[in-house]
Assembly symmetry: C2
Homo-oligomer: 453 residues x 2
């Protein structure tokens, strides 16, 4: 992966910024920071260690604070918000879209949030409060309440006149209007591309589309993301359970959900939090990761206890101690391949009771075949290394058993965890290696006790 030009440009900005911070040339820093797109400023701040981040933040013009915050990850944002006073916050959130304001307010302590809300004009406040009423990870929490609606019985000519009256008031990123009845029930979608390409004398009802189904406000955000992905949507209307239009979700907000969802699995598998900030202070990182190490320690002690059951066997034949990590490690690798695949299929919604059984059979077959292939290789190397054919046969058998157990555990553990409402990405790996460690050690050392020593 060669460095991209984007990355190079960013590195240059960081160098300039770094020099400016060191030499205390604040004017230069401000000039650099205000020349960037707010998204780039946010990215730049996220790439800075906390101390330098806190030096740079106050230098950025307060008018830009809101825009920059809107583009930032939750963790870094919460850190910066902590140190802002209420007046700054009110100023920063003034010109933002309602969904971005709601995102920022959700990171604030209750009383500060209420103060910022009180400073808004009543129409604006009502719109933001409508979003805050929903959980952050639902369609309602994702939506923006800045929507433009029309009635179905007017002509496109009238729609065009209305839009021209709105002028700058038409929300950015508008690609379609929503058609509602007199009590705001969602009826259909009128794409701007239809308005401009069809005859002006047609009524809205003739031109609008019913294809885009409205999303109810309590739909989980991952479901929203799947819907957008599947149907290649750009925006979609959000309604309450009575089908009354509440707002709209645009794809730029969904993209964040998609990225977060995919990353969530990867980070969870390493026992890291979803918002894990690479440049978080040491204390925070120690606290977050320590717990995970503790959980792993318990399973490591369990494995050690299992080995301890065979201590007299190991004393007689030290080659067993030398070889036993190989059995455990091969099982762990094979099992985590299956586990990763199953967790991904679950995230993509591809697993169901019918194909689960098929998948289990398949993975068992793959485990057995790979077990046999590598059992031979390991048996040959072991036999030559320790000049002991029996030991070779023993480790080969243990490998096959452990790879089949790994396949079984790799499929059943995540399915069982999900049934109990536990996130398989978070705890699947620990449970899996516990199984492959224990099975590996018991098979290898147990057979050795029975047949060799």
């Amino acid at each position: 992966m060669p460095e991209t030009t984007q990355q190079q440009a960013l590195n240059q900005s960081i160098n300039t910024l770094d020099e400016a911070v060191k030499s205390g040339r604040f004017v230069r820093m401000r000039r650099l920071l205000s020349s960037l797109h707010p998204a780039e400023t946010a990215h730049l701040l996220e790439s800075l260690p906390p101390k330098e981040r806190n030096v740079c933040w106050p230098i950025i013009s307060p008018d830009l604070h809101g825009d920059v915050l809107a583009y930032m990850g939750d963790d870094v944002r919460a850190d910066l918000l902590k140190d802002m006073d209420t007046a700054d916050l009110i100023n920063a959130t003034e010109d933002l879209d309602t969904d971005d304001i709601a995102d920022i307010l959700q990171d604030l302590p209750e009383h500060v949030m209420r103060e910022v809300l009180r400073a808004m004009d009543s129409q604006h406040r009502r719109r933001v409060e409508a979003i805050l009423a929903y959980e952050e990870d639902t369609a309602g929490g994702l939506m923006s309440t800045d929507v433009t609606t029309v009635r179905s019985d007017i002509t496109l000519e009238v729609v065009l006149r209305y839009l021209r009256l709105l002028g700058d008031e038409l929300p950015a990123n508008t690609d379609s209007l929503y058609v509602v009845d007199h009590s705001d029930h969602y009826i259909g979608t009128l794409a701007l591309s239809q308005i401009v390409s069809r005859s002006r004398s047609l009524t809205v009802s003739k031109v609008m589309s019913h294809q885009i189904e409205a999303i109810t406000a309590d739909t989980p955000d991952t479901d929203v993301a799947h819907r957008f992905e599947k149907h290649d949507l750009i925006s979609a209307p959000v309604v309450d359970k009575d089908n009354r239009l509440l707002g709209r979700i645009t794809i730029d907000d969904v993209v964040d959900v998609i990225r977060d969802e995919a990353e969530h699995t990867m980070l969870s598998m390493a026992g890291l939090g979803e918002d894990e900030d690479t440049f978080a202070p040491i204390k925070k990182s120690v606290r977050r990761r320590s717990l995970w190490l503790g959980v792993n320690l318990l399973t490591a002690f369990l494995a050690a206890w299992v080995i301890g059951l065979f201590d007299t066997t190991i004393e007689k034949q030290v080659a067993l101690a030398i070889l036993m990590p190989i059995v455990a490690s091969m099982g762990g690798v094979a099992g985590s391949q299956t586990l990763t695949l199953v967790i991904r299929s679950m995230a993509l919604g591809q697993l169901n009771p019918k194909n689960q059984r098929w998948l289990l059979r398949k993975e068992l077959a793959v485990g057995a075949l790979n077990g046999i292939i590598w059992a031979f290789a390991i048996a040959i190397v072991t036999s030559l290394w320790f000049k002991n054919l029996e030991l070779g046969a023993l480790i080969g058998t243990a490998i096959i058993i452990n790879l089949v157990a790994a396949a079984l555990a790799g499929v059943t553990i995540p399915i069982a965890l999900k049934r109990f409402g536990i996130d398989p990405a978070l705890s699947g790996g620990v449970l899996l290696t516990t199984v492959t460690d224990v099975v590996g050690f018991v098979a290898f050392l147990g057979f050795a006790t029975l047949f060799i020593v």
Copy 2:
């Protein structure tokens, strides 16, 4: 994670389909499959084991084949395409967008691709060939060539009249038109929302935006994705190196890139291919995963060889054999936390020479602190278990050393790999556990040889 309603609906479709397949009621299967959105059909097929998939595919009306293929993952699609004859392919791709056609054609053997191209009308063919000229993973490969352009000196009134003439010819998902000069150089973007909300007597040049920079066709697709994410774009123009407009990229295609990129890391870390199909045939899965097990086996033998260096020490004190997996495992877990974090920061473009040093210092501190915390816990348990204070002190020291080594390896390995052009997600994990295994065993068994036995 409770099952979602979407998932439930899909499971129901799958049950119905399964029964229909078993009882051979093809009419029922066809009715069910044609009642779904092509995206849902694609999803359903991806959720089927290969045998059932091949039964269902011919039952789907050939008119829908193209749409369904467009929504499918590369691996499953390539499988289905293999068995289609050229006439079917020509029929299937007829009504698709140029970018979807190009995607499908890229999976075909050269001579079939050429035949399908030959069957198109010349304008259509030229457009598809323009995309095929670029690598699949560049902006050129992502773009659609169905764009609508206007000149800057005409009024919005004229634009509206032109659009109404186009009528249905206006590409789906159009949210803006591109402004070009007489030799097709890109000048700016004219959003439909501007056309409908501004005065009709204004000229395009007064209304268009210069804010959206064109993307050059050879830009890597991950850079395109970052640009879309950062600037919340819905679509963007693609130009050649002389700034001549070639096409446009819409966000629905970028969403796939984002999902693929995020998944790529997770799958690579388990040694799985990017297009890994959960329901791939056994033979394919064995081949793909076997290699990875082989690589892991080499490192496991290396670790075994290291243990073998201390065989006389282990013979004297079998507790060492029992405890040594704990040292290796704690190092592996701590190291993979650091590694995952660094790989993610790289993917997000947050790492640069300045903050790398800061990050290394931080991770070393986190490693040392977590090492000290857990060294105490492990030392206490070990001392009590084996009634041996010295052994406790020994394993504690080894844990601290290994967690610091893990932090060092977790930061430096991915950075070094990237510098050599190797994907850190793919080989980072193997190298890391090699380091933590070797360091862990050498520290623990080495100190034991020196001080205890």
